[in-house]
Amino acid sequence: MTGITTNATLFEQLGGAAAVDAAVDIFYRKVLADERIDRFFEGVDMEKQAAKQKAFLTMAFGGPNNYNGQDMRNAHAKLVKIGLDDSHFDAVVENLAATLTELGVSEELIKQVAAIAETTRADVLGK
């Protein structure tokens, strides 16, 4: 084993589905406890939400997913109607980075994750 991982995808470097599992508990707790954005997550079934958070993380980690831009628009359209804007988007990305820091992920990889999230901004915010 040489330990050279140049060909590994970002998703693999982060640890794949297991990394998503580890991150979801921490990430979702941060989101629910964040007063800037908690209202968007009120009153929903926690297990279902956690499953959606997993879908979110898989996407942000560059993992396999079936969502396209239109899906992202649809998923967040209701939220845009009740005021979802750039400040909330930034807050989510911030929580994401804090989660990865807590899990000991390198800054380099965190930057890559943030960059992937950034590509969805226009769709998520319905712009």
Binding site: Y28, A51, T58, N66
Partner: protein
């Protein structure tokens, strides 16, 4: 060649084909989403052979033990009989063997199954009246050689099923019930883990089953804190038994909470879930069980999680009617 049985039909799986794809290829209606083991939309259960470990990634350990699996990750080497989760509709026969009042509006009902059965205390079964009315009730005892199941049934003034239990069901009558299901039960293997049990009303039934399982079957060593809530003292229907258990097991603690007026010092005023979660502001590493009113369960799940408990270690039974 692997054969998958679904309902009454058999399907041949192709090499390296997942159970989900086999079923979809044959035009079966199966829910799915990501097809990568993340969303858990395709959760199913094997009724015979254990599914491959890989198809159980991310499931709760109680689900794993019960052969739940994700169809989209499941390339089985063995033949399998698989079912969607609410598809297990075969009914078992039992006879009523005991009916006693636990309080003015809670009845202890015991039935004896005609055949041996597999269950874990705290799971629930569906009871069915012969005209087809079906209700879920939690199992309040541990598995035993007599195949007996105990339930605590709260009698609602106009409750279809519960009133019938109170007024018409008598000892010796037959009653059919479903296989035990649900993941609200004790999990062996983490003997030192602290347990927080919170229940309102007959939400105590599964908690009592879990408690007996933990203390007497598994000799659990970690601290166990039970908070039982009721409006008034008459609803604390297992008080004496629970106090006796605290005397027998030093790691077991019982707090009786009254949300109505409190005249007696031995009761704590307030809601059981609020009191429990105030007493234990840090639930990191705890296993939490929540049973009873749906609003209480929903609210407490969130609180227990925000206070540190892992989502996978919060087990809840909302007594939806």
């Amino acid at each position: 060649m692997t054969r998958i049985k679904f309902g009454e039909q058999f399907f041949e799986a192709e090499n390296n084909e997942t159970v989900l794809n086999t079923l979809l290829r044959n035009n079966m209606q199966v829910p799915y989403g990501c097809k990568t083991g993340v969303c858990q939309c395709c959760l199913m259960r094997s009724l015979d052979n254990a599914p491959p470990e890989k198809s159980q990634v991310g499931l709760k350990d109680t689900q794993q033990k019960q052969n739940y699996f994700l169809a989209c990750l499941c390339e089985s080497e063995d033949d399998m009989t698989v079912a969607l989760l609410n598809n297990e509709t075969s009914w078992l026969d039992a006879e009523v063997i005991e009916k006693t009042d636990l309080s003015t509006n809670v009845i202890l009902l015991k039935i004896k199954a005609k055949e041996p059965l597999a269950f874990i205390a705290g799971q629930f079964v569906n009871l069915r009246r012969n005209d087809g009315v079906i209700r879920s009730y939690s199992i309040a005892n541990s598995p035993n050689s007599e195949h007996e199941l105990a339930f605590h049934i709260r009698i609602l003034p106009n409750g279809k099923f519960s009133r019938w239990v109170a007024d018409e069901l008598t000892i010796g009558m037959p009653l059919s019930f479903s296989h035990a299901q649900g993941d609200c039960h004790y999990v062996a293997g983490q003997n030192e883990q602290p347990l927080l049990l919170i229940g309102t009303g007959t939400g105590l039934a599964p908690l009592y089953g879990i408690l007996l399982d933990a203390l007497s079957t598994h000799n659990h060593q970690g601290e166990i804190h039970l908070f039982h809530g009721s409006r008034d003292a008459s609803g604390l229907y297992l008080e004496e038994k629970l106090i006796a258990l605290t005397q027998k097991y030093s790691n077991f603690h019982y707090t009786a909470c009254l949300s109505g007026e409190v005249h007696d010092k031995k009761y704590t005023p307030g809601r059981a879930n609020d009191i429990a979660l105030q007493n234990f502001p840090n639930t990191t590493g705890w296993r939490v069980y929540l049973c009873g009113q749906p609003e209480m369960v929903l609210h407490s799940k969130r609180a227990a999680y925000l206070q540190g408990a892992s989502l996978k270690e919060i087990y809840a039974d909302a007594f939806l009617s």
